[in-house]
């Protein structure tokens, strides 16, 4: 009986820990992608997407702090998408030949 109770407690604890872990992983992904976009010059060449990525990342962190893990993950994923798009735009822009004067 005690054993069962212990197993149930461990399982519940693991389930309860799953949300923060997944959220943290997504936030790390988002942070990495944003940093990569920044290194590619996205802040200058793709400010719309880059700013969006930053905003979603910040809100995801906020929601994580409020234990809104599911929504936090959604926003973090969106932040990753925007950051990737911003990075792609930045790379494309850097490969473009300079405009003629």
């Amino acid at each position: 009986m005690v054993l069962r109770l212990a197993l149930a407690t461990i399982a519940l604890a693991l389930l309860a820990a799953c949300g923060p872990v997944q959220t943290t992983a997504k936030l790390v992904d988002a942070d990495r992608e944003i940093e990569a976009a920044r290194m590619a010059g996205a802040a200058r060449t793709s400010p719309y997407e880059f700013t969006g990525a930053q905003a979603y990342y910040a809100k995801a962190r906020e929601l994580e702090g409020r234990a809104r893990y599911e929504e936090a993950v959604q926003l973090a994923e969106h932040s990753v998408e925007l950051a990737k798009l911003a990075r792609t735009n930045a790379i494309t822009a850097s490969n473009r030949p300079p405009e003629a004067p």
Binding site: P47, Y48, T51, G52, K59, R68, E71
Partner: protein, 356 residues
């Protein structure tokens, strides 16, 4: 106390509902403004503000979903601030659009003027103010009053047409009598060679050269005096084409130049020939053999020729028709080694210079 607490809770719930409804209305307004900003090219002109407004609006929706109207209102406020800024920046930012305007090409039109309207542009028209055909470089062909095909400007007789008979047809003047013999070409058998009317305008021919044209010369091939042109029956002389041939020699005194009387009949006939041929001019030429010095012979032959000349003058022949030349021994006819030859070489000749 319980009733009051319940009332407060109900009031809060009503207030919360009212706030959430108001926030939703705001979100609708903000959404419309964001759309407007996008249409104003805010993606390029105010990308950060637009992205922030959109994100904050999405966050407000989330918060409303959580039932957290207050936090949603915070996001709405940020969203509104940013969308207003985005609209402001977009208003002062020229839309990114490529306006392809049809650029009118400046065409430099070089108009070829044609003042006289003859179809030949002035630049090629030698007479730009006077119409004329292109074949004549835009100049009119000169007038041809007499219609002879020679323009008046080079026609020496612009009112008299050229007769175009092959004689001086370029001057534009008619030539009715090409050879100028007084017989108009239409009646002239030889329009380009002058001749008397009696010979149909053709030149006379004098075959024997006696000065009498063949048509009047009864002896056209034998020189003879007028009027019939037949030779007279001279006994001591014979008129040939080149000379008056004498049938005996003129005799002179030995080593002198005096003509001996026995030669007078001969010279009289020579004078007669000259009278019969009034236009005849002769050269009296004296010759000697080689006996004696050449200088002496030259002098003697000259004196003897002059003696004959004087005699003929004395017979009424004009001196202008007579020349006297002494050749001495320089023109022998035969050998001077024999007496016979020397006799032939001593001679007087009458060479006809002209008979016209």
């Amino acid at each position: 106390v319980k009733g009051r607490r319940l009332l407060v809770l109900v009031a809060l719930a009503v207030l919360a509902c009212a706030t959430a409804g108001k926030v939703r209305e705001y979100t609708q307004v903000i959404r419309q403004e964001i759309d407007k900003a996008k249409r104003s090219n805010a993606v390029r002109c105010a990308p950060k503000e637009l992205a922030t407004a959109e994100a904050q609006l999405a966050f407000a929706d989330k918060e409303l979903g959580f039932g957290n109207a207050g936090r949603a209102q915070d996001h709405i406020a940020v969203a509104q601030r940013n969308v207003q800024e985005a609209l402001r920046l977009s208003a002062s930012c020229a839309p990114m659009q490529v306006v392809i305007t049809k650029q009118e090409k400046k065409i430099i039109e070089i108009t070829k003027t044609d003042r006289d309207g003859d179809g030949v542009p002035d630049v090629d028209d030698l007479c730009p103010d006077v119409p004329g055909p292109a074949e004549n470089h835009g100049c009119p062909y000169p007038k041809d009053s007499d219609g002879d095909g020679i323009p008046d400007d080079i026609d020496r007789c612009p009112l008299d047409p050229e007769d175009k008979d092959g004689f001086q047809d370029e001057d534009g003047c008619p030539d009715p009598d090409n050879d100028g013999d007084g017989i108009i070409d239409k009646l002239d058998a030889c329009p380009n060679d002058p001749g008397p009317l009696e010979n149909m305008g053709c030149p006379d021919i004098d075959s024997d050269g006696d000065g009498i044209p063949d048509r009047l010369d009864k002896c056209p091939f034998e020189p003879g005096p007028a009027p019939d042109g037949c030779p007279k029956k001279y006994t001591l002389v014979e008129v040939k084409k080149e000379k008056i041939e004498i049938k005996q020699q003129v005799h002179f005194a030995t080593a002198k130049f005096r003509v001996l009387p026995d030669s007078f009949p001969l010279l009289n006939q020579v004078a007669q020939v000259l009278q019969d041929f009034p236009k005849m001019r002769v050269s009296i030429e004296g010759h000697t053999d080689n006996v004696g010095g050449e200088a002496m012979n030259m002098k003697l032959s000259q004196r003897r020729a002059e003696a004959v000349r004087d005699y003929l003058i004395s017979r009424g022949i004009s001196p202008q028709r007579l020349e006297a030349i002494g050749y001495g021994p320089t023109k022998p006819l035969a050998s001077n080694k024999t007496a016979k030859g020397k006799g032939k070489n001593r001679r007087t000749e009458f060479r006809i210079i002209s008979n016209e």
